[in-house]
Symmetry: C2
Subunit: 323 residues, 2 copies
């Protein structure tokens, strides 16, 4: 058991992200006490039953009262309302953070609502699954994933360092950057990919000449992977797009421009351009594997193969053991 | 050991698909003898070393001489050349098939080249990984995946049934359909998804304000899954797009139209439309899982989690075991 980094932690929202923080914090002994708030009574009951929190409060105000670290684990669009609710109940010297996928609007809209005697260090763990709810969390979710912190300029560096140590204790690597840059990076690495996945799933659903059951039956050709991405929480993603509008629109513009270029190459039978662009894309993939953001051990890959299925372009990564 | 379905099988091309057919055919005892052809001497040596074939011939003409089943396991664009090479060397009564991702041009361009005393039954196993080459194959690749056969109208039904039994022996489910319908279904379930994946990876690579290393580092937010799809063989995919042009262009048109609609909803802050479209996409995902085209057993999922990583929108499917 490590020395606890915070005495009491309040989780505002106990879904996939909040419950995984609980599992991982307990695994590493990062706090003495976890309290939580969830709007729904059923979620509070589940959180208590699973031992995710010692106390489950019906209001956020009550949950934060004695907390040294308050983590807003709710969709981005709910953060302002929560900040207004808790601002007068925060413990002096506490740190408030969040886990939202957009950081610019959080810094701009939530920061000014908080009293001057607390530290505000927005954060974003680049981790998750397409599952939701308090039962979907697990301790390993953040292992070897990145967590980005975007402290406003006037933040006490000691508070940022303490939160960095906490996320490292949860298993993550931590990077600190400007909120607007975060939003630009995430627009291309996460937000636009999700939008595209949502979009193609809906395009497929509208075809008259191809039935839904055919789309599903033959989904192993690539479509399946898009449906997995498109299964993510609709509320969370709605808020992401509403809050990171400018960066997403810029990236979408570039994406469409590039797609039209590819489409034109197909129309005019320009195989050379297609080959060249496809080969370039393959290089980037190598970078992802080399950076350890996808490859597992060969043995783990081998075991997992039947579980996740193998299909064009989307087998789990990693070198396969040779027969 | 089952009763062999074909005495001798010739694999023309010994990459991922061909080598996996060898592993799966041997697993089930579907033939007495496997011979192969690969252009590269290194591939032939590897195929012999791994025991994928009993004989590795430097020409396709030689490989097909005594074969009861000839399987063209080469990119779609190479099939015409191979057909011209083997046509005068085929055993009377043999069946010729292929594994290409496009079927209309194969039926149209390859069929007429073959002599009337052989059976021509084009096929397409909806299975693969992003890895290439004779060492990347494995016996389970086709298990519980679909294989589509598209026999031209005048095909002997007995030849089609025999090939169906063969693919079932490899582990697949088999569906028979018209070549043009196949191309339409695959355009939306496989070809356009791959094109989009290739495209966004290249869009990301061109950004000046976001570095390549950032794109790679924070790829677990969704982008990673696109890089995996975009790592597929460039030659194979170039041929797919050149040969399935009409269906791909139609699907791309619909995709872009739908994407512009989403983009407009983001620009004007129409959260209701976004939420509704994202929720619909989630439904389709349920269908894929229910159809057994993604979910693995809970135990296998649990083991595989560290191997493939967990992240927003793309954890391996299947219910997680509760703690």
């Amino acid at each position: 058991m490590n020395q606890p980094i915070y005495d009491t932690i309040a989780l505002i929202g106990i879904g996939l992200i909040g419950s995984s923080i609980s599992h991982a914090a307990r695994r590493a002994g990062l706090c003495r006490r976890l309290v939580g708030h969830a709007k729904s009574e059923a979620t509070r009951a589940t959180a208590l039953r699973l031992g995710l929190v010692e106390a489950a409060c019906p209001t956020a105000a009550e949950a934060v009262k004695n907390a040294d670290l308050v983590i807003l684990c709710v969709p981005v669009g709910a953060c302002v309302r929560i900040a207004e609710e808790i601002r007068d109940h925060l413990k002096p010297g506490a740190t408030v953070t969040d886990v939202g996928s957009v950081k610019g609007t959080i810094v701009r809209d939530v920061g000014p609502l908080l009293p001057p005697n607390v530290h505000f260090v927005p954060g974003h763990p680049i981790a998750g699954t397409e599952h939701s709810g308090p039962e979907s969390g697990f301790a390993e979710l953040y292992d070897n994933r990145w967590c980005i912190l975007t402290p406003p300029e006037d933040t006490d560096p000691a508070a940022t360092e303490r939160l960095r140590t906490f996320w490292q204790g949860l298993g993550s690597n931590v990077e600190i950057m400007d909120a607007d840059h975060h939003d630009m990076v995430l627009a291309i690495t996460s937000h636009v990919p999700h939008l595209i996945a949502f979009n193609i799933v809906n395009t497929a659903a509208h075809l008259e000449r191809v039935t839904d059951s055919e789309v599903i039956k033959f989904s192993a050709g690539g479509f399946r992977d898009f449906t997995r991405i498109a299964a993510s929480d609709p509320t969370m993603w709605r808020d992401v797009f509403l809050n990171n509008r400018e960066a997403v629109l810029e990236m979408l513009g570039r994406f469409t421009e590039d797609l039209i270029h590819l489409q034109r190459s197909i129309r005019y039978g320009d195989g050379e351009t297609l080959f060249e662009l496809f080969s370039k894309a393959r290089q980037i993939r190598r970078g992802v594997i080399q950076a350890g953001q996808d490859a597992g051990s060969a043995a783990a890959f081998y075991r997992s193969r039947d579980a996740v299925g193998a299909k064009p372009g989307n087998a789990p990564a990693g070198d396969k053991p040779k027969p």
